[in-house]
């Protein structure tokens, strides 16, 4: 696991980064109040048309039906110049309440996709609950197909590509996760 700010490897659980001293409390001071957001899709940049937003919300609801534990939220925003999307995504994933309050620690299977149209960067963050099943490489694989549509200015298509890639990756991960349990049951 790496520090969202300086990318220093964090081998053990630490309250703050030993390199850059980053912590959630520091980010609270940096970003202030949590901006308005909705459960599935929030567009604070105005880049998405209303019909596109409606269609994307339907796709995100369908994703949640397929993966009832996982809430995939998307935030399209215009961050102030100089703001690191990694830090902002980490802060939003913890401070914004996309899902219920009880979804913390290993009960949190949420995913957050943040697209910054100013710095042209996107980040995909996962909750603690998904860490045993989805690696950072998997997240990278899910995010990669979004690059081309986003580069072309088609943000809705980029989000849709991410949803499709995540669906495929999570299906495989779920099948892998179910196998050990099936073996245990067979042994019993």
């Amino acid at each position: 696991m790496k520090c969202p700010a300086c990318a220093t490897l964090l081998p053990t659980p630490v309250p703050r980064c030993p390199q850059c001293k980053l912590s959630l409390q520091r980010l609270d001071l940096k970003f202030g109040l949590v901006p308005r957001h909705s459960r599935y899709l929030s567009d604070r940049s105005g880049a998405l048309a209303l019909p596109e937003m409606d269609a994307l919300r339907k796709d995100l609801r369908l994703f949640e039906k397929k993966f009832p534990q996982i809430l995939l939220s998307v935030l399209v925003t215009e961050l102030p110049i100089g703001t690191k999307v990694n830090e902002y995504s980490f802060w939003m994933a913890n401070r914004a309440r996309f899902s219920s309050v009880e979804k913390t620690q290993n009960d949190n299977f949420d995913l957050l996709l943040v697209i910054d149209v100013v710095s042209k960067k996107a980040a995909l963050v996962s909750g603690y609950g998904l860490e045993p099943y989805v690696s950072e490489e998997d997240l990278q694989d899910a995010l990669q197909p979004t690059a081309a549509p986003l580069r072309a200015g088609k943000i809705a298509d980029g989000i849709r590509a991410c949803i499709e890639a995540l669906t495929a990756i999570l299906r495989e991960a779920s099948a892998r996760a179910a196998k050990p349990q099936e073996l245990e049951l067979a042994e019993l």
Binding site: G82, A123, E131, A142, R151
Partner: protein, 143 residues
């Protein structure tokens, strides 16, 4: 009884039997007969009123039978087909979006996570991409 006595009695009895109806008809008492029953039967429940008889003759209107134009028939069939297709299309979309028969995927909850950087929901496991040229100012401040 003597033979003379018998000879007298037989015609007398015959005469009495033959004249019996005459005596009966002239009797002051009515002849015994089965009397009408004192119990009158009544139907149970509400009595239905009889339907009044029709007094006037029914008016029979003779409609003029005009043939339906062929264009109307074609139009009606076309409209019905369009409505049916629209319903079918809407139903298919609703069915697909409801994901009724698709499988649901779940993950078992693992061991308690080691919290990092003070985050209770996420420890910062993430991936990032750059999908376009960042502004010069942003690049300078990022590095």
């Amino acid at each position: 009884m003597t033979t003379r006595g018998l000879g007298f009695a037989v015609p007398l009895l015959t005469l009495l039997f033959a004249a019996a109806p005459l005596f009966a008809a002239s009797s002051p008492y009515p002849a015994p007969s089965s009397a009408a029953s004192l119990f009158k039967e009544r139907p149970i429940g509400a009595l239905s009123t009889p339907t009044p008889a029709q007094t006037s003759r029914p008016v029979i209107v003779e409609e003029e039978t005009k043939p339906v134009p062929t264009s109307w028939k074609i139009g009606g069939i076309a409209a019905g087909a369009v409505a049916l297709l629209t319903l079918l299309y809407g139903g298919t979309r609703a069915w697909r979006s409801s994901n009724l028969f698709d499988r649901q995927y779940r993950f078992p909850t693992g061991a308690p996570a080691d919290l990092r950087l003070g985050g209770m929901r996420s420890g910062g496991q993430m991936a990032t991409i750059q999908f376009g040229p960042a502004s010069v100012e942003s690049e300078t401040k990022d590095t």
